[in-house]
């Protein structure tokens, strides 16, 4: 454990220093963009470190420690990387002074709301990460299953499993591995979603500043977006939707800045912004492929904003300026930047190239159908580009609009999850901004196009609004336009009423997420009664069938635990919280007899087999029950847990 903690600290230091070095090379020329640049680079470099370690088979604390030590030595000695401690201290002092000046420029009421919001959010995040294990469905079937296997194996690899979605692009899983590999435990794995949450919120601030909003209005926009229930819940939901939202909004902030502040002679920063935009989009592509569907919306905005005002000229100016900046760099700097870009490209395309090589389908396990014709074949049908899909999804969206069907919960069943601010204040703000602010129209149209293309391709389901948790930012940005347009002569009582109303909406948004609107007091108590290290998914009764809990009670930790589940079944809970349980997928058919099932179990290296309702085909559960009734070959050790007779 001590070695693990040391490795964690040293790798954290390496990630910080590497991000800092890259951040200094990729200057953006605007303070709010500098913040999102550094925040993004922390995620980027941590993901790169774990990906490299995982692919070479060094996914263990000591090898990562050695890699990190070598990396730190490089940073303190090699050319363009080099950052000395005095430089870091000096720049940190300047940063703190600038932050204090920025903070002091905000009105006192806004500072108070911000402090309260940050403190409450932090308390909520820390409590839920500490108190509860992961429990969201997709996390337990494939997101965390990937992480658990990689940590057990010491490498990033594919493995035998019925859940084909382990082949999905997995940059989120790689990043989240950093939160578990050093202590070989999932105690804080939910915290992996907090950095992208912060990035998304700050990106909204930067985007608002980029379209010319005041600091106060931009802070309000960021607070409003940060209070969106779907976004807060996703932050600790152990899934990748918050990462996509963060990358989309970061790209938006950069696109806005490149549009309205194209190329400056005095402090050119085109290279930094262009490189960052490329890296953000590449990271997104390696996280979830549907960023491709959102891109046209992002591109539409600058086209509309610069229409008739030399849009093409600006793009060429940016590229020329960027190339000039690149040429002015010393050779080591140029090599470093090329290396960073190649790394980003690698992280963007690795998963799809791997899938293409392994299965012939870069989007495996998904079928890709365009206008009804199969372009790539896979076991799961999800990528369909068709107007029929669009119509069905828009109908589904209309049914979810207003969040009247269900509480806002992880996976957003039958809801949009946008919350009180978006519907009560955001919608009227958007309507007003579209009618009265010409600059807002391209923004709204861009968001709408991204949303429509998403609806064109995602399969209709009660849960597909989790792919659009970036969308409520458009309400926040329109709201910032409205705030800056409030007359200075507005009576004091009206201002106070406005602030109180806004605070109420943000407050109710936050309150709605306290327990994911799902976890009861009894469930909390059952977890809090256990030591932190024993709060694992299998004992969290929220949605866990009994066999999972029982399996880990009756199967010795040093034995292999076999399982048979469907393509959407839970696997992760079987690893235990300390990822110490070896598991094996046992293939058998519903028409197999008991001897054949036993042979399959032994072939998989196990005497034990778990089957569970809703996770295993009913016919296979019947086979196991029948075998246990005869009891000659296999007996039932506990409900849903079977063992071969000795």
């Amino acid at each position: 454990m001590i070695i693990g903690l040391l490795a964690w600290a040293v790798s954290g230091l390496f990630v910080f220093l590497l991000s800092y070095s890259l951040h200094r090379l990729l200057r953006t020329g605007r303070p709010s963009l500098e913040v999102i640049s550094f925040s993004f680079l922390l995620i980027f470099t941590a993901t790169l470190l774990i990906l490299v370690a995982g692919l070479v088979g060094w996914l263990r604390p000591v090898p990562i420690l050695l890699l990190s030590i070598a990396g730190i030595a490089g940073i303190f000695t090699i050319g363009s990387f080099r950052v000395g401690v005095p430089l870091i201290v000096g720049e940190s002092r300047s940063l703190v002074r600038a932050a204090i000046r920025w903070w002091a420029s905000l009105p006192s009421w806004l500072r108070m709301i911000t402090v309260i919001a940050v403190l409450l959010s932090t308390a909520r995040f820390l409590f839920l990460v500490w108190a509860l294990p992961p429990f969201v469905w997709d996390s337990l079937s494939y997101h965390l299953t990937n992480i658990a296997h990689w940590i057990q194996a010491g490498r990033i690899e594919t493995f035998d499993t019925p859940v084909d979605r382990i082949f999905n692009p997995a940059n989120y899983e790689v990043f989240a591995t950093w939160f578990a590999v050093f202590v070989h435990h999932d105690a804080v794995i939910e915290a992996a979603g907090i950095p992208p949450y912060v990035l998304a919120v700050v990106a909204v601030y930067a985007a608002a500043r980029g379209i010319g909003r005041s600091r106060s209005a931009s802070v309000l926009a960021a607070l409003a977006y940060g209070s969106t229930p779907a976004v807060i819940i996703a932050a600790t939901g152990t899934k990748n939707d918050i990462f996509l939202a963060a990358y989309y909004l970061t790209a938006l902030a950069l696109v806005i800045d490149l549009t309205f502040r194209p190329a400056e002679r005095t402090a050119p920063a085109s290279l930094g912004r262009l490189m960052l935009l490329a890296l953000v989009l590449l990271m997104a592509a390696g996280t979830k492929t549907y960023i491709l569907h959102l891109l046209p919306g992002l591109l539409l905005m600058p086209i509309l904003w610069t229409r008739g005002r030399g849009g093409r000229l600006r793009i060429s100016q940016l590229l020329v300026s960027g190339r000039q900046e690149f040429r002015l760099l010393a050779r080591p700097g140029r090599i470093l930047l090329i290396g960073v870009l190649v790394s980003g490209l690698f992280m963007g395309i690795f998963w799809n190239v791997r899938n293409w090589v392994v299965s012939g389908n870069p989007f495996y396990p998904y079928d890709v159908l365009v206008a009804g014709k199969t372009v790539f074949q896979g076991p799961e049908s999800e990528f369909r580009l068709s107007t029929r899909e669009l119509a069905a999804n828009l109908q589904g969206f209309a049914a979810k609009f207003g969040d009247w069907q269900d509480p806002i919960r992880p996976d957003l069943p039958n809801t949009t999850g946008w919350g009180w601010f978006a519907y009560v204040i955001g919608l009227p703000s958007l309507g007003w901004a579209v009618l009265r602010r010409r600059r807002a129209r391209p923004l709204v149209l861009g968001f709408a196009l991204s949303f429509l293309l998403l609806m064109l391709s995602t399969g209709p389901s009660p849960w597909n609004m989790r792919f659009a948790i970036w969308f409520p930012a458009v309400f926040s940005l329109c709201f910032s336009e409205l705030v800056d347009s409030l007359p200075a002569s507005l009576p004091r009582i009206s201002r106070k009423a406005f602030v109180a109303y806004l605070t109420l909406m943000l407050g109710v948004n936050f309150v709605a997420t306290l327990n994911y609107n799902r976890v009861s007091a009894e469930e909390f108590r059952s977890m809090l009664a256990l030591p932190v290290g024993e709060r694992h998914s299998a004992v969290f009764r929220d949605n866990m069938p009994d066999p999972y809990t029982l399996a880990l009670e009756v199967v010795p930790n040093d034995e292999v635990l076999g399982f048979n589940v469907t393509g959407n079944g839970f696997i992760y809970p079987l690893y235990r919280a300390d990822l110490s349980q070896e598991i094996a997928y046992v293939r058998f058919a519903a028409f197999d007899n008991c001897e054949q099932v036993a042979a399959a179990m032994l072939a998989s290296g196990t005497r034990y087999l778990l089957v569970a309702p809703e996770h295993t085909e009913d016919e296979k559960i019947s086979v196991m029950r029948a075998c246990a009734e005869t009891g000659e070959v296999i007996r039932e050790r506990a409900r849903g847990v079977y063992v071969i007779r000795r």
């Binding site: 269900d406 509480p407 009560v424 204040i425 409030l486 109303y501 309150v511 609107n517 009894e522």
Partner: protein, 51 residues
């Protein structure tokens, strides 16, 4: 922004608030109820039967 716009926006916002509150107000405040039940055991039974 004119006074008329401000009044119109306020009116629309309030109407949307009443619309959204049914039934989201209950859903949104339920977590507070569970928090109270967590802090004060035996205070009241679970409403959702999830306890």
């Amino acid at each position: 922004m004119t006074k008329a716009e401000i009044y119109a926006l306020a009116a629309v916002s309030l109407m949307l608030g009443f619309w959204y509150a049914t039934p989201q107000l209950f859903f949104s405040l339920h977590p507070l109820y569970e928090l109270a039940r967590l802090l004060f055991p035996g205070m009241a039974a679970s409403i959702t039967g999830n306890g």
